[in-house]
């Protein structure tokens, strides 16, 4: 047999290098639901940025002659009790909700990760103290805690954001802590120690990057929750203040007109739901793409 094929290692065609992130993106792209979520989120982000350009009318143009008009060709979503165009306000509201959502989560992630890393990495009494603190915070009914915090700081959007960030800290802290604890056991950490790597370096080059996936997933889902919480605080009058077109506040204003002008309630509510849905879909998709093990 002269045409014998001998190969040491089969030469594979030089394929495109797909890193884990790229891989995740491919996985993400495959999920229709996740893409749909991303489209919704993107749409609201666009609305938030382009709001002033596309919103048919100014958000604070009071026109008492046009109060509580039903949806019509001129005012697609109708008008509110100041005669303001609800569509415009809903569009502008996107900015507020996304702002609160993003920044409160970023705040919780930063503080939570820091505490979580310290607890998970150093262990012992530091861990005990931090973990207890998390337990304590989690045992609070979170909305009550948020209300109390806003009461201390005074009701405003910014303070609502802080309150929401605070109540979500233990969630991230715990997540990171458990990730750190579990990654610490992974063999590649052993391997890194085995080659003589320093602890801090292991922390930053191995443990942290590998904890990021669940944090991103959790973070996306937390944006959804944060938007809901901000709306709830707004609804209770503890969030954004008039005349800001915050969706929760718009809903609380609409309560008085439930009977005569239900549109004042329907559209802001739908906006909240859609945004939150978008983030949830996206988070689910990210979870499946980044971290299929994390299902809870």
């Amino acid at each position: 047999m002269s045409e014998t094929v001998t190969q040491q290692i089969p030469r594979e065609p030089e394929e495109k290098v797909a890193g884990p992130w790229r891989e995740a993106w491919t996985g993400f792209r495959k999920s229709k639901a996740a893409l749909f979520g991303a489209v919704i989120v993107l749409m609201f982000v666009l609305l938030a940025f382009a709001g002033p350009l596309i919103a048919p009318e100014g958000i604070n143009e009071q026109d008492m002659s046009k109060r509580l008009m039903a949806p019509s060709a001129e005012h697609w979503f109708g008008t509110d009790d100041f005669g303001r165009d609800i569509l415009s306000r809903v569009i502008h509201g996107a900015r507020i909700s996304l702002w609160v959502g993003f920044f409160s989560v970023i705040g919780s992630v930063i503080v939570g990760s820091l505490l979580g890393i310290i607890a998970g990495y150093y262990g012992r009494w530091v861990d005990t103290i931090i973990s207890r603190l998390f337990d304590i915070m989690l045992a609070f009914p979170s909305i009550l805690l948020a209300i109390a915090i806003v009461s201390v700081l005074g009701p405003s959007l910014q303070n609502a954001l802080i309150a929401i960030a605070v109540i979500n800290v233990p969630n991230f802290g715990r997540l990171i802590r458990s990730r750190v604890l579990s990654i610490k056991q992974d063999e590649y950490i052993m391997a890194a120690k085995g080659i003589g790597m320093k602890d801090t370096r292991i922390l930053f080059s191995h443990i942290l990057p590998n904890s990021m996936a669940p944090v991103i997933v959790q973070g996306t889902l937390a944006v959804a929750t944060a938007i809901l919480e901000a709306a709830a605080l707004g609804f209770l009058g503890l969030g954004a203040q008039a005349p800001a077109p915050e969706w929760g506040k718009m809903l609380s204003d609409a309560r008085n007109y439930l009977r005569d002008a239900p549109w004042t309630m329907i559209f802001p509510g739908l906006a909240i739901m859609l945004t939150v849905l978008g983030f949830n879909l996206m988070g689910d998709g990210l979870r499946d793409a980044l971290d299929p093990k994390m299902k809870s």
Partner: protein, 334 residues
């Protein structure tokens, strides 16, 4: 087991202590003088000062804190600054109202959520699965106060089918014994009233049930999917067991464990987090009670209220842990 429970209860102490401390500090940081609030907008400064002294609010904070702690140890939650009634006595009806609502909501959530999750997992990728999961996703994305308003609008106003406020038909009031009206009416054989009580529970119950239901359904589904892939399910099937039995006997028992955790957590959240629902549906519950107390700076009520809610929260989680060991023989507590 008893020892384990005892130990868990001991562990609770630092958590609850930490909570009391945090609550104590936070509410005292809230600007606004309770004495002023109690006496109202039109009260004189002397009256305010005298009330402050009487309530001990002029004492340093640590004295107040330790008095509060000492009170708790003797089962004394203090007196409401506003109503002057002992909190321990005042709090129960509120708590009962919330418990009744939360339990009702949780029952709805569990029945629908668990079954939807099971069927979705069983017939993965079927239309039912898709539909159920879309509904569940919308469920977790729904602002419940909006849902509550929509319910009121549709069922209360447009269809006028169900009562939108309160717990009972006030013209035919329930004679409260336990404070849980469903039980009270049954004990007293007042089934006409029971019907009314349940009618009142429906709308707020649904509003409150939505999120846990959705979460439970999603959790059950993913947990079931995982279990269905497990070896022992394959073993059960290889014995020739019927699929329905495999699902409801072998798989469910295993899949339910993480769901229990979620149920416990959600139950805790319902107990403390029902403020919005309670506000919208005029439900005289504990969330509203504490929220109002924050408005009135009614320190003892806020402190004790949150403490009680947290206590329930932790107890429910303890109960869940105990349930684990009932379900799962591998878990031994010693």
């Amino acid at each position: 087991m008893l020892q384990y429970i005892g130990k868990r209860l001991l562990q609770l102490i630092p958590v609850l202590l930490g909570m009391t401390f945090i609550v104590f500090m936070i509410i005292r940081a809230i600007p606004g003088n309770p004495a002023q609030v109690i006496l109202g907008q039109q009260a004189s400064p002397e009256a305010v000062a005298s009330l402050e002294a009487k309530l001990g609010l002029d004492q340093p904070w640590y004295t107040q804190y330790f008095e509060f702690l000492a009170g708790i140890l003797t089962g004394d939650l203090g007196e409401s600054l506003r109503t002057r009634a002992p909190v321990a006595q005042e709090i129960w009806p509120y708590l009962a109202a919330t418990i009744e609502l939360a339990v009702f909501a949780m029952i709805i959530a569990i029945i629908i959520g668990v079954n939807a999750g099971i069927i979705s997992a069983w017939f993965q990728n079927s239309w039912f699965d898709y539909a159920a999961m879309v509904v569940a996703l919308i469920g977790v994305s729904m602002p419940i106060f909006w849902l509550g308003l929509m319910e009121q609008w549709i069922f209360g106003i447009e269809l006028n089918m169900l009562p939108t406020t309160g717990r009972e038909e006030v013209r035919n009031p329930v004679n409260a014994i336990t404070g849980l009206y469903v039980i009270d009416t049954i004990i007293q054989g007042r089934f006409d009233q029971l019907g009314e009580v349940i009618r009142h529970l429906i709308l707020p119950g649904i509003a409150l049930a939505t999120i846990p239901m959705a979460i439970i359904a999603r959790m059950t589904r993913s947990s079931m999917l995982e279990v269905m892939r497990s070896d022992f399910v394959r073993t059960a099937r290889s014995k020739g067991q019927r699929m329905s039995l495999v699902v409801y006997k072998h798989a469910l028992k295993n899949a339910i464990i993480p769901v229990l955790t979620v149920i416990g957590l959600q139950m805790g959240i319902l107990l403390g987090g029902a403020i919005l629902t309670e506000t919208i549906f005029g439900w005289p519950g504990i969330g509203r009670y504490i929220y109002d107390a924050i408005g009135f700076r009614d320190y003892p009520v806020i402190q004790s209220g949150i403490l009680v809610v947290a206590f329930f929260f932790v107890m429910i989680n303890l109960l869940v842990d105990i349930l684990y060991s009932v379900v799962d023989p591998r878990i031994k507590y010693d």
